[in-house]
Symmetry: C2
Subunit: 330 residues, 2 copies
């Protein structure tokens, strides 16, 4: 039980060092003039007593927690872990802490988190590609600073050029001679998925679409369904890498070779994309960078700001183009 510790407070240090609490505080925070000798004595006493300032007491006093909150749709998968990594790295550099929370795509849980932020975090980063999400901001304390990831809202957000990425990929496939390009869609309500779909539709010669939900299973299912078509596509473009992996397994299980029989492409460029066989051609999303920028935006003063991160085509082997083979070994 967290009771045994927590005993030594600033008062104890003050008493022991023979000064007032104000002086302790001044020394610890490097504010106000303190005589060199006094300062040394205070520091020694702190060490002797193993004193550490009490986090929430300090936060209450200075009205800042130096913590930012991160709300994710789910903690599954590499995409999210990369985002966390990007944010954490930046937060640490700035002396901030990170409070993470995965809500299982549940509206109520999301609201619960929104109601718990006051006095707990200085700012909130919400990643919820669900289009409805921005509406839920109403449940935040009025005026609470927030930044939206992969979603657009009224105040500050940062998103990905999904449309451009999809467009570039379809162009690449067409350049390789493909005309029957299938697309595996993401979840209906997902903003990223919608943009990727739009990019595909606007660029592909014909629309061959399969439902999906960003999971490997969905990719697998789509792969199986696809193979039963009389006129199979010659290329498959999955709305994210995880689904592309699913397709890959479905094809492998059915003895269909990638890229020889069917070309396969994904979206995101999660770390694993390099390690599957064949390495996956995909659209690279600068995930860690997304996190980094999100953090910077979260602690910035700007009331209003919309950023868009560009994507890049990463050509590996799953589409049969080995001319520009990239990143087999990291």
């Amino acid at each position: 039980m967290p009771d045994s510790h927590d005993r030594v407070t600033i008062k104890d240090v003050a008493a022991q060092a023979g000064v007032s609490v104000a002086t302790i505080s001044r020394v610890l925070n490097g504010k106000g003039p303190v005589r060199e000798a006094t300062s040394r004595r205070v520091i020694e006493t702190c060490q002797a007593l193993r004193f550490t300032p009490h986090g929430v007491a300090r936060s209450l006093s200075i009205r800042r927690t130096h913590t930012i909150g991160l709300l994710l749709p789910d903690l599954h998968g590499e995409f999210f872990s990369e985002v966390i990594r990007g944010i954490d790295a930046e937060a640490r550099r700035s002396g901030y802490h990170l409070l993470v929370s995965g809500f299982h795509s549940d509206r109520q849980e999301m609201i619960a988190v929104f109601r718990a932020v006051r006095g707990r975090v200085d700012s909130l980063i919400v990643m919820s590609p669900d289009r409805e999400a921005s509406a839920l901001c109403a449940y935040l304390p009025a005026g609470f600073p927030i930044v939206l990831l992969n979603n657009t809202g009224v105040s500050r957000d940062i998103s990905i050029d999904n449309y451009g990425g999809a467009e570039a990929m379809v162009r690449h496939l067409r350049a390789l001679g493909h005309t029957r390009i299938a697309f595996i869609k993401g979840p209906d309500q997902n903003a990223d998925a919608a943009e990727r779909l739009r990019g595909y539709r606007d660029t592909s010669p014909q629309a061959i679409e399969f439902d999906g939900n960003f999971s490997e299973e969905a990719g697998y299912d789509a792969g199986i369904r696809m193979l039963s078509m009389t006129q199979k596509p010659t290329a498959v473009f999955a709305a994210n890498d995880a689904m592309a992996f699913g397709v890959m397994i479905a094809l492998r299980d059915s003895g269909v070779r990638v890229p020889h029989d069917i070309a396969l492409a994904g979206f995101d460029d999660i770390p694993t994309a390099r390690y599957v066989t064949p390495p996956l051609t995909t659209v690279k999303v600068p995930i860690a960078e997304l996190g980094r920028r999100a953090f910077d935006l979260a602690i910035s003063d700007e009331e209003q700001r919309h950023e868009v991160l560009q994507t890049t085509l990463v050509i590996r082997e799953s589409c049969g183009s080995t001319i520009l083979r990239g990143g087999t070994k990291s």
Copy 2:
């Protein structure tokens, strides 16, 4: 700047509702007797004013933050994201928040975190397979509750049966007829790595060891070195999955087939292990379960407790045994 919000406090609600702050508090926390009508009025006022209790103020008062800290060696890779997921799920169930921090294997950063926990988290989960880590506990406020992951300390810890897992894998390889089994080691100071190595040494007919550090690159390098041996091993057992992936790529790049020419095995069973080609035979570590238990232990009263999680052999295709093929599709 986080300044615009944060205006409405419990006092405002009290004034507006025509009651004292104590009553507000009682209603919100469901303590003490409150007349039905009063309660309703308070709740309505809270909603009207969009009042939310101030986190740190509350924490300071009740001397509990309902937050637990998680300190990880690095936020890289699937292993850690799985751990976070396991802990988060359990924390949410118990109404706790999760403060994560990745320290880049830097001693100083770790100490810095240790000094920042007082009054910020109720308990700390530290995952640091580095053997030295438990010594660093001295930098924690005296008596601060902590649980060690994959490391043994004086108070509470939970670790993995690395020895047994390695042993089982080597036995499996021997049963398949292998006698020249190479092992790719983890980092020197890593406790998990040391136990896995010990399991290998105690079971393998001969020791063919390569240095490694749990990274894909290290696996790749070991793979290349291995191929230049005059008498190559017939099976390779990497101390973790990431290194096994590296080996897989090295072999593929050199035209060596797995498992036909060389059998390959890993350790951890991270999600990706199922998706590489061929699917990786490995030792399953119940990662999310590890997180779950760690959390439970963190908030428990037990002063002293050591848990060990069992591992299981997961036979896929990378060792040529297709008899018990498992989990191709999740």
